[in-house]
């Protein structure tokens, strides 16, 4: 059935899921919204893209998803160049979920909405229900299949949008501030769904976010400022320079703020990204000193 959509080449040397070189784009032909940006994301990586409002994050994501046409540079998706003749093949590999859940519905029921993409991909009618139900279950929306999307909460709408994208069996999922309009419960639920997809299916995730906790949990952080790449590295490395944090309008996790204060009192912590880790380490310090 639909399992054959998910064949992963585990064990095979990693090829970058996304490779971007010298990427430049301009909306008005004068100023570049994205300028000479280059980074690569290995398969199965949870990558967060961060930067101030207007730093070019969403533009970069749309370029990678093939929704905008680059001015210059190279984008390779799974080794395939983003060029007109490859666009269909590339679009099959990438799914994108946007910020505003209201803008991404087509179907009159949740079931129809998830079916829409499948119909476009000419999936046989006989297989469709199985696929729809599978992905509705994956995001916890099974009991809403016959509901009208407009009657759902923001968080539920985003889960349906994710199910619709998942049904297309992408290898790379892009979330463009997919939780920023949701309340805390809705946010947590979506973050859980994304994390599960990453861990269980080793999907490559590109998540544009302002959520510092999400950033600190990710494998790789791509930091943009005024359309340019500042760095692409681990969260520890990105958070390490106070000057850089200040200049690019980022915040740092609370545990790091605490670690910095503790240093002033002569207490050094190794684990600084997670509160739980910091507390465990403090316990050890207390018992061994």
């Amino acid at each position: 059935m639909f399992f054959f959509f998910y064949v992963y080449n585990k064990g095979v040397p990693a090829m970058s899921a996304v490779e971007v070189k010298n990427l430049t784009f301009s909306y008005d032909g004068q100023t570049n919204a994205v300028e000479d940006v280059g980074f690569s994301v290995e398969k199965g990586t949870y990558c967060t893209i961060v930067g101030r409002n207007g730093s070019g994050k969403s533009t970069a994501a749309k370029l990678i998803a093939g929704l905008l046409d680059k001015k210059s540079g190279t984008i390779l998706i799974d080794g395939i160049a983003m060029e007109r003749e490859n666009l269909l093949e590339i679009r099959r590999k990438i799914g994108i979920v946007f910020q505003n859940p209201d803008n991404q519905f087509i179907g009159s029921t949740v079931r129809d909405d998830i079916a829409f993409g499948l119909e476009n991909h000419c999936v046989p009618q006989a297989e469709m229900d199985g696929i729809i139900e599978h992905f509705a279950a994956e995001v916890g929306m099974t009991s809403y299949l016959e509901s009208e999307p407009s009657r759902l909460s923001g968080g539920q709408k985003q889960r349906v949008a994710i199910a619709g994208v998942l049904a297309m069996a992408p290898e790379i999922l892009i979330f463009d501030e997919a939780t920023s309009m949701l309340d805390p419960q809705g946010k947590d639920r979506i973050k859980q769904v994304i994390r599960t997809l990453h861990e269980d299916r080793s999907l490559t995730i590109l998540s544009i976010t302002h959520d510092i906790e999400e950033v600190s949990m990710s494998d790789q952080v791509v930091l943009l400022d005024k359309g340019k790449l500042v760095m692409s590295d681990t969260p520890e490395a990105v958070f390490s320079s106070e000057d850089r944090i200040r200049k690019t309008g980022l915040d740092i996790p609370f545990s790091m703020k605490l670690a910095k204060e503790l240093k002033r009192y002569g207490v050094r912590l190794d684990e600084t990204l997670r509160i739980e880790g910091a507390v465990e380490e403090l316990c050890r310090l207390r018992s061994t000193k």
Binding site: Q99, S180, I212, R286
Partner: protein, 286 residues
């Protein structure tokens, strides 16, 4: 002049199959000159509540007292326009409401509409724009050319230009980056402390409530379930947790440390105080 809700209910689509009681017999008094957070889950009635403050919504029953006016069921209060100049309401995603050719024109629209001369309106608009962190270079630009964060500032400046005594903000920082959020919250705090504005802010962000707000109103199922000082609200994190609200990181850290056997006094509310307290205990065992 206090802002008070006296047994206020609000029913949407009354008499239809979609009838929905968004506010249910709310009794509540907002403290003057304070910065109060209105929190609660989606659908708990937060937005409905604050839209009564400038009579954008009228109660289905009960009385809302704002400034020196009474707003009751079905009766649009006298001097509605004046009330709206005194109580500035900023909606979620206010940038969708920008409409003029230039930023300066957009921000002057409010005061002009209230009968202020062109010159005076521009003066107020400029002052409001600077307060919101938009300098001269933006005055003559089209609002459409601004970034999301800048649009948000321009929209807020449009309300500030009318110099309202009460400022009501419905999720003013949703979608802003961390720095933008901090700058915006500091602005509201300054308006509150330096200019004596009463600020009422609907938010989901407990970090902001913890750092900036004096009082907390918790909405649940259309009722004001709690109204207390922010200090008391966060002193006992079980209140947050029982409402399914994630407490601020510092409170979560204090809880985790206490559970691990550290002695963390209730009064600790800054990172440096917490660090000092921890350092003492880590070293004492040395």
């Amino acid at each position: 002049m206090p802002i008070a809700f006296d047994k206020v209910s609000h029913i949407y689509s009354a008499g239809t199959p979609y009838e929905f009681k968004a506010l249910d017999d709310v009794d509540l008094e907002f403290s003057e000159g304070k910065m109060t957070a209105v929190i609660g889950q989606t659908g708990s009635g937060k937005s409905t509540l604050v839209q009564h403050l400038n009579a954008l919504l009228l109660p289905s029953s009960g009385t809302v007292r704002v400034m020196d006016r009474e707003i009751t069921a079905g009766t649009a209060p006298k001097g509605l326009k004046k009330l709206r100049g005194e109580v500035g309401l900023i909606f979620q995603f206010p940038e969708y409401q920008l409409f003029e050719e230039t930023v300066l024109k957009d921000v002057s629209f409010g005061p002009k509409n209230f009968g202020v001369s062109e010159e005076e309106a521009q003066k107020r608009a400029k002052e409001a724009l600077r307060l919101c962190g938009l300098d001269e270079q933006y005055d003559e630009r089209s609002p459409l050319e601004l970034s999301g964060g800048q649009k948000r500032r321009a929209a807020i400046a449009g309300i500030l230009a009318m110099d309202p005594q009460v400022l009501v903000l419905d999720e003013p920082t949703a979608g802003l980056d961390p720095r933008g959020t901090e700058e915006m919250m500091k602005l509201f705090r300054t308006l509150n402390t330096k200019r004596g504005k009463t600020v009422i802010i609907v938010t989901h962000d407990m970090e902001q409530v913890f750092v900036y707000c004096d009082e907390v109103v918790v909405m649940a199922d259309g009722k004001a379930a709690a109204h207390m000082s922010a200090r008391d609200f966060f002193a006992d994190s079980s209140i947050c947790r029982s409402m399914n609200i994630l407490p601020p990181a510092i409170i979560r850290t204090c809880d985790a440390l206490r559970e691990a056997g550290f002695d963390i006094p209730k009064e600790i509310n800054t990172t440096s105080a917490l660090a000092k307290c921890i350092a003492r205990q880590v070293k004492r065992h040395g």
